[in-house]
Amino acid sequence: MQTPALASSAQPRLTRGVRLQTDSKTGNSVLLFPEGVLELNETAQEILNRCDGRTVSEIIQALAEEYDIDPKMLAIDVEETLADLKRRKLIELT
């Protein structure tokens, strides 16, 4: 699988026009954007809830501490998820 490496100092943010909200029917998080709805899995949900100006490495660190997981293991998941969201233009990296 080829995913472009994400700079650990990049700050992921939702792209303008993309809304993150709780689906009242399921209680899960969804991303809403023009003509589309993306139902988020738990990983994506936890990551996006922390895309508030923090860098990729800060997000990994925060999740690792909260869930007591090895940051190196977690980094793969986080980077894959962010790369996927970026490919769909749902997040931007600044």
């Binding site: 303008r16 026009g17 809304r19 909200q21 689906d23 009242s24 029917k25 969804v30 809403l32 954007f33 023009p34 003509e35 709805v37 490919r87 233009k89």
Partner: protein, 391 residues
């Protein structure tokens, strides 16, 4: 049958429109169940007026529909028409959608959108705008729209960008403009759109009436597909390009609506709730419920119109035993009704349909057309008649 959860509501808040595009999917006859006349391409009848606009739902009725839609699980609302800006209460409706946590998209020609209205819509919580264009070329665009609109649309696109609202462009592609696809893509790029729909015309409403003038040739379609494919790859990551296929030239039908009564519903200006925006005119024998009489939840779950073609049980052969039946859902019910006279038939676009000859015949007639017939005139869309209520 257990109804699935709907995701998106198309709110057609008015049929009034300052443009007269000959491919409009609005009904050319509607509103009067007894008065609906079947439509044949190239033939106009006497009962083709859309409902008078004083029969439109009121602001309060729309607000109730929006709340009921959110309760039903709907997450997206598209405000469409006609031209939705023709209703002065649009900001109120968008605010109601925002309060109900719906993501709102305005589907507009841009006519009537000045700085003040744009601010009002943004402040009300509008999430995105889809702006229609008829061509990249002013003269051609204005000819297609039947009015001078193109220059204004360019200004509006810039204003939308300046207001910070995400912008999608929509081009309906047909015989008269399909050869300008590269220039239209260039226009989208220069206007910094985030998303572009290159939508080959689908033949419903006015487009069905004007099919002979709008249907592109096979040669045009092949070239357009190549251009769209190349542009999609070139602009990946910059502009999302959605190319809507010209289904008469396909061998399998489009997965219309992701299945009837599965994800989408439409409420038209007079409150009829439709599984598909073109259903009321294309399928005259189906009775549609009205939000003035029933709540949306009941209509979605229980009504005959939503259940008639839900799932796969209604399917005839060759759909019933087809491995593709949950991929294309038998295609489009409206197209089956318009071309075969029976909405329950397999979409005749499908190469397995016993009625495919009906589509081939249309294509063959086009190929053998004389230059004169090739440039067949179209009938411009007209607005519904205004009926004044006595004071």
């Amino acid at each position: 049958m257990i109804a699935p959860r709907p995701y998106a509501l198309l709110a057609e808040i008015t049929y009034r429109c300052p443009l007269h595009c000959p491919y409009c999917s609005n009904p050319i006859a509607n509103g009067n169940l007894e008065g609906r006349a079947p439509v044949t391409p190239g033939k106009t009848g006497s009962q083709e007026l859309a409902p008078p606009y004083n029969a439109e739902l009121s602001t309060d009725e729309w607000k109730r529909v929006i709340r009921e839609a959110a309760d039903l699980g709907i997450l997206q609302i598209g405000f469409s028409g006609g031209e939705p800006l023709a209703r002065r209460d649009l900001p109120d409706l968008i605010r109601a959608a925002r309060e109900a946590n719906l993501y709102s998209n305005l589907i507009t020609s841009g006519i009537g959108l000045d700085d003040d209205r744009l601010c009002a819509l943004r402040d009300a919580g509008l999430d995105s705008i889809q702006l229609s264009f008829q061509s990249d070329n002013t003269n051609l665009a204005d000819e297609i729209a039947g009015t001078r609109a193109h220059q204004h649309k360019l200004d509006v696109a810039a204003k939308i960008r300046a207001a910070g609202i995400p912008l999608s462009l929509n081009f309906v592609i047909h015989r008269r403009n399909i050869d300008r696809l590269p220039q239209m893509i260039d226009l989208a790029e220069s206007l910094h759109a985030e998303r572009v729909e290159l939508a080959n015309v689908q033949f419903y409403g006015w487009a069905f009436l004007n099919r002979a003038a709008l249907l592109p040739t096979r040669e045009q379609v092949v070239r357009a597909r190549e251009i769209a494919t190349v542009a999609k790859a070139r602009l990946a990551g910059k502009i999302d390009i959605f190319y809507v296929l010209p289904d008469y030239y396909e061998s399998r039908p489009k997965p219309c609506l992701s299945g009837w009564g599965q994800r989408y519903l439409t409420v038209n200006p007079i409150g009829e709730v439709l599984p598909c925006p073109t259903a009321s005119s294309a399928i005259p024998d189906l009775r549609f419920e009205n939000v003035r009489a029933r709540d949306l939840d009941w209509i979605w779950r229980e009504s005959e119109s939503f259940n008639r073609f839900r799932g796969t049980e209604w399917m005839p052969e060759p759909c019933q035993s087809c491995p593709q039946r949950e991929i294309d859902f038998g295609g489009c019910r409206c197209q089956a009704a318009l071309l075969t006279g029976n909405a329950a038939n397999t979409d005749p676009v499908c190469e397995l349909s016993p009625n495919r000859a009906l589509v081939d015949e249309v294509l063959r007639d086009l190929d053998s057309s004389t230059p004169k017939a090739f440039g067949a005139d179209w009938t411009y869309r007209v607005n519904p008649k205004t009926v004044l209520t006595p004071v």
